[in-house]
């Protein structure tokens, strides 16, 4: 009789739970600063080390956020913006330059922060139409600028040490 094998081992589940917990804790730790977050950097790093499996982590993180804050409209945004960052990271991984990777991913993280509001406004495009989406995006541009700057600097400083640290972990 053929033995059934699960795609995820118990070790995987424990590890993913821990990685999601790191995302959640880092988010709450920086909640007092508008649009300054470590999630973008963590998603980039997780994707570099875990590949497509990071999609499960972004989904787990989104579910935790729903449990904590309730099902708001931004939950819909989270369902596509974080997987989109996973996709972008996987594309950039193919062109990774070992010498300047910290700068490459800092630019990716910065651009992601800059377009975060624009990406999220797509929900309002569906709910309220182009005028609502546009005014929502414009009103949030100052926060997108902060998001871009913070993401760029955070990634520039923390990418290398965290990437090195994660490189020491046996993921599978």
């Amino acid at each position: 009789m053929k033995e059934e094998t699960s795609k995820f081992s118990v070790r995987d589940l424990a590890l993913y739970g821990l990685l999601i917990a790191i995302m959640e804790v880092s988010k709450h730790a920086l909640d007092f600063l508008p649009n300054v977050e470590l999630i973008s950097l963590l998603v980039i790093l997780y994707t570099l080390h875990l590949g497509k499996r990071t999609l499960f982590l972004t989904l787990g993180f989104t579910l935790l956020e729903i449990f904590y804050w309730g099902p708001h409209t931004w939950v819909i945004m989270y369902l596509y913006v974080w997987p989109f960052l996973v996709f972008l990271t996987l594309q950039m991984k193919k062109h990774r330059d070992e010498k300047y990777d910290f700068l490459q991913f800092a630019v990716l993280s910065g651009l992601f922060g800059l377009f975060f509001g624009a990406m999220c406004s797509l929900v309002y495009l569906v709910i309220g139409g182009p005028r609502t989406a546009l005014s929502w995006w414009v009103a949030g541009i100052p926060y997108d600028l902060i998001h871009a700057g913070a993401n760029f600097v955070i990634c520039l400083i923390l990418f290398r040490p965290l990437d090195k640290l994660m490189g020491k972990v046996k993921w599978r």
Binding site: Q104, L111, I141, F152
Partner: protein, 134 residues
């Protein structure tokens, strides 16, 4: 590869500048001069209190200050990283942590995109402060 990476850094800088320019030109402008506006406060029972105001101020909170100073309107707000956060209006406190309640700002029937202190005031505008629960 080094050159390509630096080009992307330049792209990021240019886009940041472009976004700042878009905001500068597209954000709702505060209107100078005398303006007539109305503020409607809707409490938890749905009861409305309407204030008709004339103001030269350019932002909503400043426009409301004379009414607040007279004691006809009370706004309990606290500074947050996102601007002034309205906790209570006319003695009615909204506690989001307790029951998901909050004070929402509506501008001419549409959900407001700005905080009370950064909401530009235009002649004829109708504002609403509504006690809502999520």
């Amino acid at each position: 590869m080094k050159k390509k990476t630096w080009i992307w850094v330049c792209v990021l800088v240019v886009l940041v500048a472009l976004f700042a320019l878009i905001y500068h030109f597209a954000k709702p402008k505060a209107q100078a001069g005398s303006k007539a506006i109305t503020l409607t406060v809707v409490d938890d029972a749905g009861d409305e209190k309407v204030y008709n105001l004339k103001t030269d101020e350019e932002y909503l909170y400043d426009a409301l200050k004379p009414v607040i100073d007279k004691g006809d309107l009370t706004i309990d707000a606290e500074e947050s990283a996102y601007g002034l956060y309205i906790k209570g209006v006319n003695g009615l406190t909204a506690d989001y942590d307790k029951d998901g309640a909050y004070w929402a700002i509506y501008v001419n029937g549409e959900y407001g995109q700005f905080g009370i202190e950064s909401q530009p005031v235009a002649d004829g505008d109708a504002y609403k402060l509504v006690y809502e629960k999520y």
